[in-house]
Symmetry: C3
Subunit: 318 residues, 3 copies
């Protein structure tokens, strides 16, 4: 693996999932694989789970980790070419990426969408400029439109939890929120579940929240949440901002919040969320505190997902 930006960078998904599971069983099985190698983690936006789980994963492999919080510790970056830099940005990504690439062997980058222009966000320009100018493998720590480390952890979690000799029914359901959130987790979950090809996959959301067909693919789309949830084995709860009015937080229907009653017609569905979750807004506290929630298991699995990906990139470093 050269870079890790989406499912398209994964040559063998079952092998990657198996590797993650093996690291979970024995975290230090390759504790010198990364000896003498450095991972840079560049945060253009905040991060808790990704920051910590990726550090743990890298150290389990014997890598050094360098963290840079751009903005607070560093510099405001410019991403436009042809610009006269007489404004607020103090360094162009062309220099910033090349210099970071000179200091580390691989570089993780966290960047959020501006949610102002669909075209701009979906071009993944920021992440791609790090790919183009850093000269080292780039690891997405969540980008403008995708969050592949989360999705790999999500698949690992479902594989662990579901042992029946049939395909599980997996429902990604939109949830209310008070802010305009990125589409990353929903896009990425859809992309990975489709690639996994081991589930009956339904995406439920109100009208106006249609995900990109490139991610939806063969999934069923439902606007009736109750119908979607029927017989579900896994329910992935997540808000994303409007796609009809791109990136806007429009008046939202609180009836889409997942509550214990909605779990009754499911097959004792396990409930997932990437966290952080707003209790009693996206999802009832009663579910989060009950036996059907697996959100902590999901977050814990972030370590093993990251470790499998780092190991794969390390092998590609010669």
């Amino acid at each position: 693996m050269k870079h890790f930006r989406s499912i398209h960078d994964v040559a063998d998904l079952p092998a990657l999932l198996a590797s993650a599971a093996a690291y979970k069983a024995d975290p230090f099985r390759h504790e010198t694989l990364g000896k003498g190698k450095r991972l840079g983690l560049m945060f253009l936006n905040p991060s808790t789970r990704t920051r910590l789980s990726t550090q743990v994963a890298a150290r389990n492999l014997g890598m050094e980790v360098l963290v840079l919080n751009a903005g607070t510790e560093g510099w405001a970056l410019e991403f436009n070419d042809e610009v006269i830099m007489n404004g607020n940005t103090v360094e162009h990504v062309r220099e910033a990426a090349a210099v970071l690439g000179a200091y580390v062997d691989m570089l993780g980058v966290r960047t959020f969408p501006a949610l102002l222009s669909r075209e701009e966000d979906y071009s993944e320009r920021v992440l791609q400029q790090f790919v183009e100018h850093s000269g080292v493998p780039i690891l997405s720590l969540e980008s403008a439109t995708l969050h592949p480390l989360q999705s790999l952890a999500d698949l690992l979690t479902m594989e662990e939890q579901f042992k029946a000799p049939r395909k599980p029914k997996v429902v990604l359901t939109w949830a209310p929120h008070i802010k305009a959130l990125p589409h990353c987790v929903a896009n990425s979950f859809a992309q990975w579940v489709n690639a996994w090809d081991a589930a009956d996959f339904v995406i439920a959301h109100p009208e106006g929240y249609e995900l990109d067909p490139a991610f939806v693919q063969q999934a069923s789309v439902e606007h009736d949440q109750d119908k979607a949830l029927c017989d579900a084995d896994f329910i992935y709860v997540k808000n994303w901002s409007s796609t009809a009015q791109y990136g806007k937080h429009v008046c939202e229907d609180p009836s889409w919040m997942l509550t214990p009653e909605k779990l009754l017609p499911t097959r004792q569905a396990k409930v997932m969320h990437c966290l952080p979750v707003r209790r009693n807004l996206e999802l009832s506290a009663a579910i989060l505190d009950g036996p059907q929630s697996i959100v902590i298991e999901q977050a814990a699995n972030r370590v093993w997902a990251a470790q499998a990906v780092l190991a794969e990139i390390l092998k590609g470093l010669a």
Copy 2:
């Protein structure tokens, strides 16, 4: 030792002090005790000495350290149950603590009191929620009402400095400040000196600054500073906010500032302060720059106090 929140978590204080002294004599004597173990340090409030000394201590034991600055690097946490999270907080401590607990083997937490409600602060709700929800040992890096790592370092410092075959006289004296400060250091020092049971202990403060009887215990309380300081061997200088008007900064009497003249009737008392100290407001610069100040020795001893506590918790991890 399971958690470290107060003297009540210490089974054998003399042994803990001896362990700290032994680490000071030979910092790397147990340099592999913590191999493969991770300490998370979660700062809900700023920290300099505690942050650095705890990192040094952990590394001396071979532990990995993960630092999370909540708020700047992370997320604003919610501590109330039964809340609809449609405000500024983005993650509930129930999820945050559980996830952090999944990434580390023990977790240090720094949190300050809000100083708005005595009941709220003295419930130590924030620290206790990490105990309840993280699933790992919790190390107080200063909480709403106590600062046990500081107190252990304070006792170590007095043991080093006092060799006479009698009990030293130890005076904790209130000092002026311009802000409303927590009660933590004063409460905790009182609690630990009482448990140490090796000093004549006097607490001096103006009326309205009475500490909780649970911490004062058998100590003498004086409102006349000169009388309290007479024949002192150690003077611990510290401001704390009003207790009569809980958490308020009320008009303060500058005559309580410790000056060189006030040291004359002492037994060449050593002067202590937990730092940071406001010169010429809490304490004369002339004292801080003179031979009776041991504030730097105190701060340096923070490393050995932390190392003794981390080692004790590590032994409990099996």
Copy 3:
């Protein structure tokens, strides 16, 4: 080497340059030299390259690194003696430096000039107070008037790039900017190139931007940029604020921006800049993206410069 603040702390510049080159050829040649030693990095001002390259260098030598971002993670420091600390500063450098010195074996300090008083900035009071009060070797990570780690990397870069059997012509040229910047990089480059004594050295700037004669020394000074650039082998581009009106950003002449046409009468001059650089304001993007720019090589060499300096200080620690 005890401290590293300027060229005056360097006993043998050719040996230091040779050491840096040797670390570049073999980064881990002394990977246990710093075992059990701790480097503290104290940032009173932001840093990207210096922060990361110094961490890499220290880890290459087996040192532990502790980072403290004062202000965001720590405390606002007071540098004036005789002050009553009843304002915004919460800790005096006398305590802060002494405590940090108790936790680490050497201490890097980053501090910028206030640009309000030449006398104040050129006294290097902040850096000197850490020298006086910390009790450990102090490493400048850029100070009020100098940036020696940058200059060492600059000389290393020129030595690598120039192999002809003659002295290169080196031109330090002022460039426009939109802010009032420190004099550090220009002062320091001049000081080190003069000590290197291996170049024909010209400093070009508009009137009113005269550098201190202590740094200019035997260099030629030109106010005609075209004349200065003629036959240049290296062009170092850098803005600095007015010296006639100390620390002010005065109306600046955009014709001083380095453009491709200005490179024509040079000897295919290599173009240098310490970064971050504002494209098309200080320097044309066409130069930065072309074959004559060596700004990335310069930045990459920061690691080896830092590693040579750290190794030299480590040897002095006994």
